[in-house]
């Protein structure tokens, strides 16, 4: 395990889709154990940045080290150590709860897999649906199972892409509880539009616009300053681009 250095070190990271630059030279450093809030208007490049850092997209230029491993040369080592929760749950609808988790557990090589599945299903309160096909799950149940999927291999760094979108209050409580439990020894990067709620969590915040960082709190963000900057970046005339 590579425990030296920051959790994230991003240097001149660029991502183009065709001629369009979605990320235009991102520089960012995040220490281990921090909770980074990634904010910005729709289309600012937040999800693209998350997907590049999670090795789902290759950068066009620049590089980043994630937990000490290079995106370009060690993507497999990064994948072993990260968890990813997005608004899509990444679960197979025709498999049962247990089969979904067993599949992902085997792909990650989780050794105590059955025990780990039991533990996580209890944590996300889905033990009673262990052998049910997930096709008929509610949005909240899908997302709770997605949380279990993302934590199965005990990742050190969690990427959360608007994880609370569409969740019922109970699922939000479970997610908040898990984040609270993991905060002490995990690093988080969370894309969110919910500034009020996430301010309690963040130890650092950046605001992206047009693929560039327009605000970097450097340290624990000052709520008043962050809210004012967020409003300035997001609100154009009568419309709020961050909603």
């Amino acid at each position: 395990m590579n425990t030296a250095g920051p959790a994230l070190e991003v240097r001149s990271l660029t991502k183009n889709f065709g001629r369009r630059a979605i990320l235009a030279g991102i520089d960012l450093t995040l220490d281990r154990g921090e909770f980074l809030l990634l904010l910005g208007p729709n289309g600012a490049g937040k999800t693209t940045l998350l997907r590049v850092l999670a090795t789902l997209l290759a950068p066009t230029a620049g590089d980043a080290s994630v937990l000490g491993y290079s995106l370009k040369s060690d993507p497999t080592e990064i994948r072993r150590r990260i968890g990813f929760i997005s608004h899509s749950h990444l679960l197979y609808r025709d498999l049962t709860t247990y089969e979904n988790l067993r599949f992902y557990g085997e792909m990650y090589g989780v050794e105590d897999l059955d025990d780990r599945i039991t533990e996580l299903l209890e944590r996300v309160e889905l033990t009673h649906r262990r052998y049910d096909t997930v096709r008929d799950f509610s949005r909240g149940m899908f997302q709770r199972l997605a949380i279990a999927r993302a934590l199965l291999h005990r990742p050190e760094l969690l990427f959360l892409d608007e994880p609370q979108t569409g969740l019922d209050p109970h699922a939000v409580d479970i997610l908040d509880g898990i984040i609270e439990e993991l905060r002490a020894d995990h690093t988080f990067v969370m894309v969110t539009h919910n500034l009020e709620r996430s301010l309690e969590l963040g130890t650092k915040a950046i605001i992206l616009k047009n693929g560039q960082i327009v605000y970097d709190s450097a340290d624990r963000p000052d709520p008043a300053e962050l809210k004012a900057t967020y409003r300035r970046v997001c609100v154009t005339g009568d419309s709020n681009e961050c909603d």
Binding site: L56, R79, S88, L90, L91, D94, Y104, G109
Partner: protein
């Protein structure tokens, strides 16, 4: 975690999904049976002996059935962005290729176990034991080439919005030289064999195509999956 365990995990998951949904099997089975029935009724009023055209009809049915199956083979991965989930795991991309290829191959073989005896009944009126074994071998070699290229190209087309259109455009021209060898060999086999040297040269070409297709898929998969 070993690549072997990951290979089996992906293959088992794909088979389980197909057994539950029957997405690929139902459509491909119905298509191949319909193709053979239509060929039979189209040719039988004019030809008393269908043996000379049987090889062509068999491989037309196999080729288009496989196209249908390959197009469906990524449906579960695109649903709810499960492909992202798979790509987030620490698996080497060629392992995904081999597992997907094995899944497609198993579907095609299971289908042929049911369809080829019906084909033999319609068009051949029976085969000797040795010829049946050789037919099984050429079917297997043909399936391997079809699934090798097909898995690679189905992955490329799955990442586009026009995947139903793109796969046949990419797949059919690439398969043409391969299918020429496979049909020639199968035809010679069904007709009772021509000069031994001709048949073995077709067979060597089929094996060479298989090796090239598999190596190309294995080497290129990292570049085609994902983005």
């Amino acid at each position: 975690m070993s690549a072997t365990k990951q290979f089996w995990a992906i293959l088992r998951k794909d088979l389980l999904l197909e057994i539950r949904s029957k997405d690929v099997f139902t459509s491909t089975f119905l298509f191949s049976i319909m193709a053979l029935v239509i060929f039979h009724f189209a040719f039988s009023p004019n030809l008393k002996d269908l043996t000379p055209v049987a090889a062509g009809m068999l491989w037309v049915a196999v080729l288009f059935t496989s196209l249908l199956g390959l197009n469906r083979s990524f449906v579960h991965e695109k649903d709810e962005q499960c492909l992202d989930g798979l790509l987030l795991t620490p698996v080497d991309r060629p392992v995904i290729f081999l597992a997907k290829l094995a899944g497609n191959l198993i579907f095609l073989i299971v289908l042929q176990v049911i369809v080829v005896p019906i084909f033999a009944l319609f068009f051949l009126g029976g085969l000797t034991g040795a010829a049946a074994l050789k037919l099984a071998m050429v079917l297997l070699l043909g399936d391997l080439g079809i699934c090798g290229v097909g898995t690679l190209l189905a992955t490329i087309s799955a990442n586009t919005r026009a995947r139903d259109l793109l796969l046949p455009i990419l797949y059919l021209p690439v398969m043409t030289p391969f299918m020429m060898q496979v049909v020639s060999y199968t035809n010679a086999l069904i007709m009772g064999g021509t000069a031994a040297v001709d048949m073995s040269s077709w067979l060597y070409l089929i094996i060479a195509f298989d090796i090239i297709f598999l190596l190309a898929g294995y080497a290129l998969y990292d570049f085609v999956i994902g983005e």
